[in-house]
């Protein structure tokens, strides 16, 4: 059994990372050329890690299931990336970013990792600008910032509503340079099927070529998993259709502990579900809460009239609207953290104030912002600030320049013009804070197997703040892993190339082939999507925004039954030796069907509310989350034992030496 040692360096928190870097072992440039590293995934974490490792001199093999590394789902991140630059002079600092992130995570993240994240955050912006990432700038030519939820400063750098795209294309360009040099060997349309352990160390992976179905063996001295999160467990989420848990689940089954699986982020501002046909949900960036005001009608009668189409939201006067976030949380208002905003929306809708046909939507309104910006612009131009027409026109142009692509996206999907009528939004699954357990060096409990980005668990605790995912992905990939992996690889300078002819590779390959054949042979009567949708409903209804013991116990049983049904009755068309998307999906869903059970078990065992994990049994009189610091200030790290719910719990106690544990308040 692997020991749960976080390997956090000693010393004051602000010196830990510097001291650690000064003391860990290095690999000489000549020796780096003898060492191979596999990186699975090409998002912000995987792409930046692959590029940086190759720059350092390692031989990198990079894998993605998409047809190009540029398409990894980091591309869809909208709002921005945090960095403690204090360019706005509003009192920001490394300490504040560290503090906000720990508090935002509801005191369930590892202090030392979060501090390191805050320390390297400024380097990320410098690096990206040097790469030619076109961040938004002000008229003086300097970088612009905006605010995100849960903080009182403006530290978010952005490129309109396409920050993830620009950062990913930056990492992709860094990869391209190394692909051209031959230092990265790129494998597009390849899916990792399993990790291979030799003498207890990760020494390679088995992949499936998605074009011709060929099962391939790839060896390396270390394996880095950067395959993202598992939000698609819910079927409907803001994740891409191909996003999956398979890489992290496979390493879990081979010995990597899975940490805090139940910590999921439900993002408050997504386009509401419109019907059963829906295949995925679309996020409306949190940046919109800088200017948008969230409200529902004050009376249920008005809400009903709006639902039935008898009343226009724009006709409802101010005194009949309930800006419930501003009412409940005056200090942070519409910019409370995501978990708080999501629960508040659910509470209003559950009580009967929902505003769309399904009753599951609230308004996000830009009318006030349009007037505010319009007046400002009119004043600047010396025009009449009381001319509503002029003000509206200028205001809409100002809003468009900030959020144009988001408004366009909304209009295309919903067929309503958000400049004229308030947007309708509802929470949806967006991000998973839980993931593979890693130590301070980002190594999992399998020696030589690392996990970075959303695939690991370490930095966001029970709730992630907006614009912090991009920060963490790039911090891990550009500035943390490239250092820490050297300490491990220093032992491998004399190992030489790893052979793929060993029995370990053969066994792993055979297992994969067997699994594929058995899925194809089943020839049942229900499609893969049928099972995925069923699983998603169970998780959303019983392990979603609020959870209780009875529901969670039921969910565990229902998932078990569904999994048995899947293996008995699933219909996977086609053959294994061709382009076969349903087969690829069946493999991913089979892993979700196992993870789902562990997810529910983790939620059941954590008998407290914290961040995105809300247990109905544990709440304050005002309905706020109630933590139990005495009994639950730990990371749940689960060890696989053959059946998801037989997993054994290991606890990593969290010590807060620099930040006092307090009840999180945004009032």
């Amino acid at each position: 059994m692997a020991k749960l040692d976080s390997k956090v360096p000693k010393g004051p928190i602000s010196e830990k990372w510097t001291n650690h870097k000064n003391n860990i072992r290095l690999v000489s440039p000549a020796n780096k050329r003898q060492i191979d590293v596999i990186v699975v995934g090409t998002g912000l974490a995987g792409g930046s890690a692959a590029a940086t490792l190759a720059e350092l001199g390692y031989n990198v093999k990079s894998f993605c299931f998409q047809d190009s590394p540029r398409r990894a789902h980091s591309i869809a991140a909208q709002g921005g990336i945090n960095a403690a630059k204090n360019y706005q002079g509003d009192g920001d600092s490394i300490h504040r970013l560290f503090y906000d992130t720990v508090k935002g995570g509801d005191y369930r993240s590892r202090e030392s990792n979060v501090h390191r994240l805050a320390e390297v955050s400024a380097n990320i912006i410098d690096q990206c600008v040097a790469q030619g990432v076109p961040f938004a700038r002000d008229y003086g030519g300097l970088l612009d910032n905006r605010s995100f939820g849960g903080v009182l400063v403006s530290r978010t750098f952005y490129a309109k509503g396409q920050t993830g795209q620009q950062l990913l294309l930056g990492a992709y360009s860094a990869m391209n340079r190394q692909i051209a040099r031959g230092k990265i060997k790129m494998f597009n349309r390849h899916e990792m099927m399993d990790v291979v352990l030799v003498d207890g160390k990760a020494r390679g992976i088995i992949t499936r070529n998605l074009i011709n179905g060929k099962i391939e063996r790839h060896s390396a001295h270390a394996v880095v998993i950067a395959s993202g999160g598992y939000g698609n467990l819910f079927f409907l989420s803001t994740n891409a259709m191909g996003s999956n848990v398979s890489a992290t689940w496979k390493i879990h089954k081979k010995g990597a502990y899975f940490a805090n699986p139940c910590f999921t982020q439900i993002h408050p501002t997504c386009i509401p579900v419109s019907g059963d046909h829906q295949s995925k949900l679309t996020l409306m960036s949190e940046s919109l809460r800088n200017d948008g005001r969230i409200w529902v009608p004050k009376t249920k009668e008005d809400a009903q009239a709006i639902r039935e189409g008898k009343l226009n939201p724009t006709d409802l006067s101010e005194d009949k609207r309930d800006y419930y976030l501003e009412r409940r949380y005056p200090a942070f208002g519409n910019l409370v953290p995501r978990d708080v905003a999501s629960r508040a929306a659910k509470e209003r809708c559950d009580t009967g104030f929902g505003v769309n046909k399904t009753g599951e939507a609230v308004f996000l309104d830009f009318a006030a912002a349009i007037v505010r910006y319009g007046k400002e612009k009119a004043h600047l131009k010396g025009l009449d600030e009381d001319d509503i027409k002029v003000v509206n026109e200028l205001g809409k142009a100002a809003v468009k320049s900030k959020y144009g692509n988001l408004f366009q996206m909304y209009e295309k999907i919903v067929d309503e013009n958000p400049y004229e009528t308030p947007m309708m939004i509802y929470p949806a699954v967006h991000y998973t804070m839980g993931g593979t357990w890693v130590d301070y060096n980002l190594m999992t409990t399998i020696p030589g197997c690392f996990a970075i980005g959303e695939a690991n668990f370490s930095d966001h605790g029970a709730n992630r703040l907006g614009a912090s995912a991009l920060m963490q992905g790039l911090a891990d990939g550009y500035f943390v892993l490239p250092y820490t992996i050297g300490d491990y690889l220093a032992d491998d300078i004399r190992t030489g190339a790893i052979s793929t002819d060993s029995k370990e590779f053969e066994e792993a390959e055979n297992d994969v082939k067997q699994k594929i054949e058995s899925l194809l042979k089943t020839k049942g009567n229900k499609t893969v999507d049928y099972y995925h949708k069923k699983l998603g409903k169970i998780i959303w209804n019983k392990c979603g925004m609020s959870r209780n013991a009875d529901d969670l116990k039921q969910a565990i049983e229902e998932i078990k039954i569904l999994r048995e049904d899947f293996y008995a009755n699933v219909l996977v068309p086609g053959s294994s030796d061709s382009f076969n998307e349903p087969l690829a999906k069946a493999i991913r869903v089979s892993d979700f069907l196992e993870l789902g059970e562990l997810f529910a078990k983790d939620a059941l065992e954590r008998k407290e509310s914290c961040g995105g994990h809300f247990r109905e049994e544990h709440q304050s009189k005002e309905g706020e989350a109630l933590r139990d610091d005495e009994n639950f200030t730990f990371v749940s790290a689960w060890e696989y034992k053959g059946n998801p719910s037989d997993a054994v719990l290991h606890k990593e106690q969290l010590n807060y030496e620099n930040i006092e544990l307090k009840t999180r308040s945004y009032k």
């Binding site: 410098d126 961040f135 803001t238 295949s279 995925k280």
Partner: protein, 248 residues
Amino acid sequence: MKLTLKVWRQKNSKEKGKIESYDIDKISPDMSFLEMMDVLNEKLTIEGLDPVAFDHDCREGICGSCSMFINGEAHGPDRLVTTCQLHMRKFNDGETIYIEPFRAKTFPVIKDLVVDRSSFDRIQHAGGFISVNTSGNTQDANSIPIEKQKADNAFDAATCIGCGACVATCKNSSAMLFVSAKVSQYALLPQGKIEATDRVLNMVKQMDDEGFGNCTNTGACEVECPKGISLENIARLNREFIKAKIKS
């Protein structure tokens, strides 16, 4: 809605393909085009037939995976959207819809509607980057102020999603809009100036070596581009190319 779909079916890159006809019913106008394709595929799967292969991933118009030619237009009849953001309300009940892959010699079909766009990646390998190593010691991000207009133009060029609609639309299968977007992004920024000469020469060479056609200024690419990448970028590419040719 009831629809007749005429879909390009091709088993793999070696075999010949042909159009197959499918009738489909109970399509909601609120569905996206790909959700309509999901319905078709569920039906085909249950009937024991091979579902239609198509590329797709983010389904929010940013990853650039989806790539269908619908009724003779890349990404279908709507403007400034990818296929995944195209909604069925843009079609009429009873309509016949033709669905084909992006066609170009440089985009060989892998299966059905899935094409191989790795030629785009290879063009980027040739010069789509600024040579800066990760170090943590690059200069402070605010040490080079950049004129807002230029930064905004660079951003607009950088929003290209690499879907290939420009190539599929162009009668010459030219990749000029795609290449010009990357060249423009870096040409507009001070960081990109140092390698500007080599970059444009190498990227254009790779583009030619891949077999993409020439630009004859028809402008169809701009019309069909889901991100509205402007033709001005092609003009800038030409200027950059001439400049580089003279210099070298």
